[in-house]
């Protein structure tokens, strides 16, 4: 099971990098979203996908699932949602103000 999820994370990373290398602003946003999803899946596999009991201390239960990866992913998801929404607004405003969404044309010159 870990193996499949790892491949999925790899596919997400590859798609993300492909999108990040494009020049269109919206594609860059999509790339960054996919990148964060890849990273989250990656944490999940690193914590091992065991099918144990809930991590609550009771007598007679030995096999617990590791609760930490989920806590990390949850925190990270919240952060990446926040940044994604900021990024969408920022990209929209930038495209409007500068009248282009092509990164090539968003370079600018030295003294301004």
């Amino acid at each position: 099971m870990e193996f499949i999820i790892l491949i999925l994370a790899g596919v997400l990373f590859a798609t993300a990098i492909y999108n990040l290398l494009q020049k269109q602003l919206l594609r860059l946003v999509i790339g960054s979203v996919l990148l964060s999803h890849g990273a989250h899946l990656f944490i999940l596999t690193m914590g091992e996908l065991k099918r144990g009991r809930p991590p609550i201390l009771t007598d007679g239960v030995e096999n617990y699932t590791d609760p930490l990866p989920q806590a990390l992913i949850l925190t990270s998801i919240v952060i990446s949602f926040g940044i994604t929404s900021l990024l969408l607004v920022l990209a929209y405003r930038t495209a409007n103000e500068n009248e282009t969404d092509n990164m090539e044309q968003l370079r600018g010159n030295d003294n301004e």
Partner: protein, 491 residues
């Protein structure tokens, strides 16, 4: 265990929230800001005094014992940096009302300012790798808002790049943390250090270390990962540039110092030797950038890169003197970069342009400003008796005792060129004929915060005897990871 360690994080956070309730009453907000920064500074001073007298303060949040819960560690290095952060913040808070237009101040400038301080202090104080990522995000979120505050065409354009680069490196940070958790089964920095020590940093661990270095080097703007930095630091208002230049890159280099003096210290030939080369290249390329431009703000922004190079050089040499030099230089650079950014912002305001070719003869109207820039240039380049000299002296003696001749030569040449790049502003902008048609703009309030910063950095140079013992004890503490591990794990 003491709650003192968490106060430098909590107070700015609360201040930011409180100020968000009435952004329109500017005079009230400004007064409260000043009260909060001074209060925070006093508490940071008190905490630092406690730490230097009684050893590291460790707070286990929610009473979860060390390797399980999130811990806040205030040891010498982190509390010293928190103290400097608060000095910088106070200077910027007093400068802000003169520099920012009222409209921008009403757009929650002070709230974001306090969130930034909170995030920076948190990143310095945390003892948990994932928690460090969270605090990085807190400060980055605040910085995203600050860099685009006002929403000019240029600001929007540069902030998009800034956000993307930081988002990319943050996601690599999360991936690196996943690797750490997968291989070592913990994210508590003391326990990571312990486990790396047990297996003597074999196999994949060095790779993870380099991945973490890549992430922090992007945030610290080291060669070759500095390309995003100079332009995005000059587009916002001078006071925001000063905060960024003083704090954000320094958080990255602090993380590098922490990780590579505590955790990955068993393959020094590989990692730390590489750092020396990266430091040398950062110095060369940074100073080339500073010399290549006529925009006074860009000159200062490019000067951040060689400074980070100097700090990394001390870590790369990795002996007691060099690490002391790094820490000294780190503190010195935070103070002097703030004052330079504020000075250059004032000059650009007074001259009406930041293009060096378009103004000259300012000294006839602003003598104090000109001489302050002159002194700042001396401090930055490390002319005795100012603070830069002590840091560089320690770095160079440390490097010479390890026989790293090449980096010493590069460092000395870079220092000369740094002096030249600042003096260029002084010679071209301040010297020259009096321009009769010049419109004089009063700048009185903007001078005072800078004067205080310069006074502190002159004291750091002349009064080095008072400061050096504590810096030396910090570097001795850093060179032996056992100190940190024992303090946190309580064995």
């Amino acid at each position: 265990m003491s709650n003192l360690a968490v106060l430098p994080i909590i107070i700015p956070l609360l201040a930011g929230i409180i100020l968000a309730f009435f952004p329109k009453q500017l005079s009230l907000v400004r007064t409260l800001t000043k009260i909060f920064v001074i209060g925070n500074l006093v508490i940071a001073c008190y905490t630092a005094w406690q730490v230097f007298n009684q050893g590291a303060i460790i707070l286990e949040t929610g009473d979860w014992a060390a390797p399980y819960g999130i811990i806040i560690v205030a040891d010498g290095l982190s509390i010293l940096l928190v103290l400097t952060t608060n000095i910088v913040a106070a200077a910027c808070a007093f400068y802000a009302p003169y520099s920012l237009p009222d409209k921008k101040e009403r757009f929650y400038f002070y709230s974001f300012f306090f969130f930034l301080i909170s995030g920076v202090s948190g990143a310095f104080l945390t003892g948990d790798l994932f928690n460090m990522f969270v605090f990085f995000e807190v400060l980055l979120m605040a910085s995203y808002a600050l860099i685009v505050l006002g929403g000019d065409k240029v600001q929007l354009r540069e902030s998009v790049k800034y956000v993307f680069i930081n988002l990319f490196s943050s996601m690599l940070f999360v991936t690196a943390i996943a690797f750490v958790y997968g291989t070592l089964g913990t994210i508590n920095m003391a326990q990571i250090a312990q486990r790396v020590q047990e297996v003597e940093q074999q196999g994949i661990l060095t790779t993870i270390g380099i991945l973490l270095f890549f992430v922090f080097a992007t945030k610290a703007a080291l060669f070759p990962l500095y390309y995003w930095m100079p332009k995005s630091y000059v587009v916002p208002n001078p006071v925001i540039s000063a905060l960024f230049g003083a704090l954000l890159t320094k958080v990255g280099i602090y993380a590098i110092i922490r990780v590579f003096s505590l955790i990955f210290v068993h393959k020094i030939n590989l990692t730390h030797e590489t750092f020396i080369w990266i430091a040398g290249l950062s110095m060369i390329f940074g100073i080339i950038g500073a010399l290549s431009t006529n925009n006074i703000k860009l000159i200062i922004a490019y000067n951040i890169i060689p400074a980070i190079g100097f700090i990394l050089m001390g870590l790369g040499v990795f002996n007691q003197e060099a690490i002391s030099g790094s820490i000294y230089y780190l503190i010195h650079d935070m103070l002097i970069k703030t004052s330079l950014f504020l000075l250059v912002g004032t000059i650009a305001y007074a001259a009406g342009t930041s293009d060096l070719r378009k103004f000259s003869g300012l000294i006839h109207y602003y003598p104090v400003l000109g001489w302050m820039l002159f002194v700042s240039g001396f401090v930055l380049a490390g002319i005795p008796p100012f603070s830069g000299f002590i840091g560089k002296l320690l770095l160079l003696t440390g490097a010479l005792s390890n026989e790293e001749i090449a980096i010493v030569i590069i460092a000395l040449l870079t220092s000369l060129l740094i002096l030249y790049s600042i003096m260029k502003i002084f010679i071209k902008g301040f010297w020259g004929e009096k321009n009769e048609s010049f419109e004089y703009k009063p700048i009185k309030g903007r001078i005072a915060p800078v004067a205080v910063l310069l006074a502190i950095s002159i004291f750091m140079g002349i009064g080095a005897e008072f400061i050096y013992p504590s810096i030396e004890s910090i570097s001795a503490y850093l060179l032996d990871p056992e100190n940190y591990i024992n303090a946190v794990m309580k064995e």
